[in-house]
């Protein structure tokens, strides 16, 4: 009797996700936090109670809230105060941002240097956030989180298909070819697809997952094209300036429709970047702690 084989084909997108989703999971506390924030009758006290159970998370959230990134005058000395001043949705996105760098351990260091990888990701998050602030967007923390997460698909590839991804990295470097094009040619999908799918599995809000999935094709974003455009441009800015390194040796093409959607004058970029640079090292130290 013939059976229908539902196992995903080796090296397919689903296969990659299935292989890694049990290894790379967000801390349980993030799920609890999402649950309590989404609950219609939850209070600031409920949210505070959940976060306070994790001392590491509490400390890092407070450090971030008191860092130059926020620039508040009065000291934010409790999660309750942070939730009140910054907002609960924003706090949720910040919790994601400070949790995720610890999730990916055991990635082969010969393929990707975790220090420069997170430098690029965090620079992209800060830059995207600065672009969103320039545009006076309401929730800039989810743009920050999406920027930090935008390349996690590459980490999944490093872990699940190290041999193939290693070849792609070498080809990208030697031919100065676009790594994302090489990924698509070889695998039929890109690190952006992988990142988007992983975040979906993690039940991360679509306002963060879709911009990650569409950061090389912001026009394809159905619900959050503006957020996708922030990440798209921030990624290009960070690669142009050499802030960190995530495996891509060249600056990816700028999508014209995304640039027009952002409606940011080119001569404002220098000013925006000037605000980003002083925030890089401290934010990186807070998010990565003592990691090498």
């Amino acid at each position: 009797m013939a059976t229908t084989d539902t196992t995903p084909r080796e090296n397919s997108l689903e296969w990659l996700i299935n292989k890694t989703e049990s290894v790379y999971t967000l801390p349980i506390i993030y799920d609890r936090l999402t649950e309590v924030i989404n609950h219609p009758r939850s209070s600031i006290e409920d949210i505070t109670e959940v976060i306070s159970k994790d001392q590491g998370l509490t400390a890092r959230l407070l450090k971030l809230a008191n860092s130059p990134l926020f620039g508040y005058f009065s000291k934010i000395d409790s999660i309750g105060k942070a939730a009140t001043i910054i907002g609960t949705q924003q706090l949720q996105a910040m919790a994601l941002a400070v949790s995720v760098t610890e999730v990916f351990t055991g990635i082969p260091e010969n393929l990707v240097n975790m220090k420069t990888f997170w430098q690029h990701s965090i620079a992209c998050g800060i830059t995207a956030r600065a672009l969103a602030i320039y545009r006076r967007e309401a929730n800039v923390e989810r743009v920050f989180a999406a920027g930090i997460l935008h390349d996690v698909g590459r980490l999944v590839m490093c872990a699940a298909i190290p041999d193939i991804f290693g070849e792609l990295l070498v080809a990208g470097r030697e031919e100065k070819a676009l790594l994302i094009s090489l990924e698509k040619e070889r695998l039929g999908f890109s690190h952006a697809d992988v990142g988007g799918r992983l975040l979906e599995k993690w039940r991360i809000p679509e306002s963060i997952a879709e911009p990650v999935a569409c950061h090389h094709s912001p026009d394809a974003a159905r619900k959050f094209p503006l957020e996708a455009a922030f990440i798209h441009l921030a990624d290009i800015i960070c690669k142009s300036l050499g802030l960190g390194f995530s495996g891509e040796w060249v600056v990816p093409p700028l999508e014209l429709s995304a640039w027009e959607r952002l409606d940011i004058p080119a001569n404002a970029l220098a000013e925006i970047i000037k605000h980003v640079e002083p925030q890089l090292s401290e934010t990186t130290a807070i998010l990565r702690g003592s990691a090498p």
Binding site: S240, L241, V250, L254, L269
Partner: protein, 111 residues
């Protein structure tokens, strides 16, 4: 009255218009005489430029103090060309990012 980039402000200048945050909340009112502390607030809140009383509109331009020898400029330009080979270097945003990269390389003194 004209707009001045936050980075080019100095204490003692007088605001020609209210400065509001992204939610429309008032940060600093018209007529405020800027102190160093005010400059700090404006920077940390991501305010890019403000109206200054008595400034002419010519004050908006780049206040670039860095000058680079043309030979050094073209050497760096040549060096970073491969990085931008997949980008449209006639697009204003890409041209600006190339310029900033060149300034950055020159400032870091790697040349």
């Amino acid at each position: 009255m004209g707009k001045i980039l936050t980075d080019n402000l100095a204490s003692g200048m007088i605001l020609g218009a209210d400065v509001r945050d992204r939610n429309g909340r008032l940060l600093l009112g018209t007529g405020t005489i800027l102190s160093d502390r005010h400059l700090y607030i404006l920077r940390t809140w991501g305010v890019i430029e403000v109206e200054i009383a008595g400034a002419d509109d010519g004050g908006k331009g780049h206040n670039s103090a860095i000058t680079i020898e043309p030979a050094l400029w073209s050497a760096i330009e040549k060096e970073i060309a491969p990085l931008f080979r997949h980008a449209d270097n006639t697009h204003p945003a890409i041209m600006e990012l190339m310029r900033l990269r060149i300034l950055r390389e020159a400032a870091h003194g790697n040349h």
